[in-house]
């Protein structure tokens, strides 16, 4: 199988799925002729034509809403929102229409759609090209949410999302789009939703992250290893559903955990993980679950790199947890 970047893996996956199932269509701004502003839909237009790769007007409400109508009719739309920061005009379509359709119709209708969006900072994009808004989606019953950190995971999760009968939001860490190349596994290689992966094993503490901050988390774990401290690193990669079992088991083993994500700290998804850890394995804890997150400010331009939880901030939290 090929060795590709994350964004190449995504384009490949869409191609594979569109070839596999003629109901799969792609829609969004610039996804057609241009192949997507990040080339996530590269060459699909040439191969599948304007009926299955649709350049839409500039309207997230139209994109996501139309995806609902297509899914209801029997297609499998994969809508692209150009930046996660722009999902808000289409937010009502996701939250009021897509998320609640199966429930409000008593199961008569459902919306098997995917909404993909590049998310996360570190790209000098400021307020509106750097957000990681997963908290809004995981707080909406009826949606599923995934947030891969590697090319193979992006492929495996996107496949599962497309084949899932429920609406799935796929957040892609754009600063990792071209950062790393990975050899994709052979075969279908789908990854089930709600399954985390352990990237590193160690007995001194657990570090949990997802998306772009997986990169910093692994760097921090390596730095700790150099100092003789061994961390278990878990990549959640799926947020709704999330792999509660894997997390609780790991935390119960060593009683110390640090939760790392780049979204603003207040009411972030990691707050849910921390609350669950406290509720279900309190007796195992030798220190409070500490969150290392983005700051509770709009995403800054000049201080982009300071905003993101870097290795130093992560290690300071690790120190607190080990010292407790």
């Amino acid at each position: 199988m090929a060795t590709v970047t994350m964004v190449q893996a995504i384009a490949r996956t869409l191609d594979e799925e569109m070839a596999r199932d003629e109901r799969v269509v792609v829609l969004g701004q610039d996804v057609g002729k241009r192949g997507g502003v990040f080339l996530a839909t590269d060459k699909l237009f040439d191969k599948y034509g304007p009926d299955r790769v649709i350049d839409t007007p500039l309207s997230e409400a139209a994109i996501i809403g139309a995806a609902v109508g297509m899914a209801v009719y029997g297609l499998r739309p994969v809508a692209e929102i150009q930046f996660a920061d722009y999902v808000y005009p289409g937010f009502d379509q996701l939250v009021s229409q897509a998320a609640k359709l199966r429930y409000r119709s008593g199961g008569q209708f459902h919306a098997p759609l995917v909404v993909r969006m590049p998310a996360g900072g570190g790209v000098k994009g400021g307020h509106h090209h750097s957000q990681s808004p997963e908290a809004h989606f995981v707080h909406t019953p009826g949606l599923k949410v995934v947030y891969p950190a590697t090319p193979a995971d992006a492929r495996g999760l996107l496949k599962t999302a497309i084949r899932d009968d429920d609406p799935v939001v796929v957040l892609e860490p754009k600063r990792l789009y071209r950062a790393v190349k990975e050899t994709l596994p052979d075969g279908d290689a789908t990854i089930p939703l709600g399954q985390a992966v352990t990237r590193r094993q160690g007995g001194d503490l657990v570090m949990i992250s997802y998306g772009g901050t997986m990169s910093e988390t692994l760097k921090a774990a390596e730095a700790l290893h150099q100092q003789g401290i061994e961390a278990t690193v878990i990549d959640l990669r799926s947020l709704l559903p999330w792999d509660k079992e894997a997390v609780l088991e790991a935390v119960a083993q060593c009683g110390r955990v640090v939760l790392i994500n780049e979204a603003p700290k207040h009411a972030s998804f990691m707050s849910e993980v921390a609350a669950t850890i406290s509720e279900e394995v309190l007796d195992a804890l030798e220190a409070p679950p500490l969150r290392v997150s983005g700051f509770d400010t709009p995403y800054p331009y000049a201080q982009d790199r300071d905003y993101l939880p870097g290795v130093n901030r992560i290690l300071r939290a690790v120190q607190k947890v080990l010292d407790y």
């Binding site: 409400a61 809403g65 139309a66 109508g69 009502d92 008593g106």
Partner: protein, 363 residues
Amino acid sequence: MITDSQRFQPFTPKPISLIGEGGEWLAPFAFKLPDELLQRFYRDMLASRLLDERLSTLQRLGKVSFIAPVAGHEAAQVALAHAVTAGVDWLFPYYRDSALVLALGIPAREIVAQSMATKADPNKGRQMPAHFGSKAINLFAVASPIASHLAPAVGTAISIKLTGSEQVVIASFGEGATSEGDFHAAINFAGVQGAPIVFVCQNNRYAISVDYHKQTAAENIAAKAVAYGMPGYLVDGMDVLASYFVLHEAIARARAGHGPALVELQVYRYGPHSSADDDARYRPREEVEAWRRRDPLKRLARFLERCGLISESWEAELRAELSEQLAQAAKEAEAAGPVPTDWLFDDVYAEPLPHLTAQRAEL
């Protein structure tokens, strides 16, 4: 545009009417509709009027928590029901479309059951009253956020176009919805794609209490269609035949691949916005009374009289029959019993997720 078989002009300065208040035929073309259909129109409009009254009674008896009265809209909605191919075409209604739903053939029992949240509701009692949905007739389940159903309607229409089917999509909404961004997003996309969808706006001049002139500065809703590259028809929605003929043409155009249209049906809402509304606060009784005199049922009745298709006894028998049927439907709806509490956890996803299974145990 279909030019040779096209009867109606878009963007007329005045609403298109085909029968006058006295029941006289106004149009220049010869009229040909089967008698059964004309009597059916009357029957369906009367049934809707009676269902409206029954739901109002049920609400005041405390058996239904909320109603959105449709009296005044009957001609518009019954015309629409007959202009589509029920069970084939797709409909994306709004919360006041009870006449439409009934005339499409949904049993009154289901409509009442949805309002009562009993087990006879195909939507499993999930929503507040007036939020119906039925897969049996491709009727998309109503969601409260105004105009939020329009973009999905367009998506379905685009899918129909892409798959080469001959279905048409109807999106039904009030004039208030045209102020939402979603209206613009949807109708613009439909125009660009040439999708087979007819946007049907029932302009009853009030969005709860906000009157038309506070809603838009446009002369009428139909005029907005220019901006989206499609024809906009201005129609007297109290005239069932005008509504029927214009809708039929717009739907035929769309079905033949000539793209979308916007049809404005001007109506008047006799009742308040809902059972929680007191319309005396914002409109004068005289205005309501004046429109009552232009009751769509009465206008059709006068037309049928001229055609010899109606009599007092026929009407009285019909009324008794429909009342009986509706009373029976309400009884059956209630007798089905309230939906079980633990249905609360079903249908969030195709298969329940673990945390939902755990929460079910907390009931």
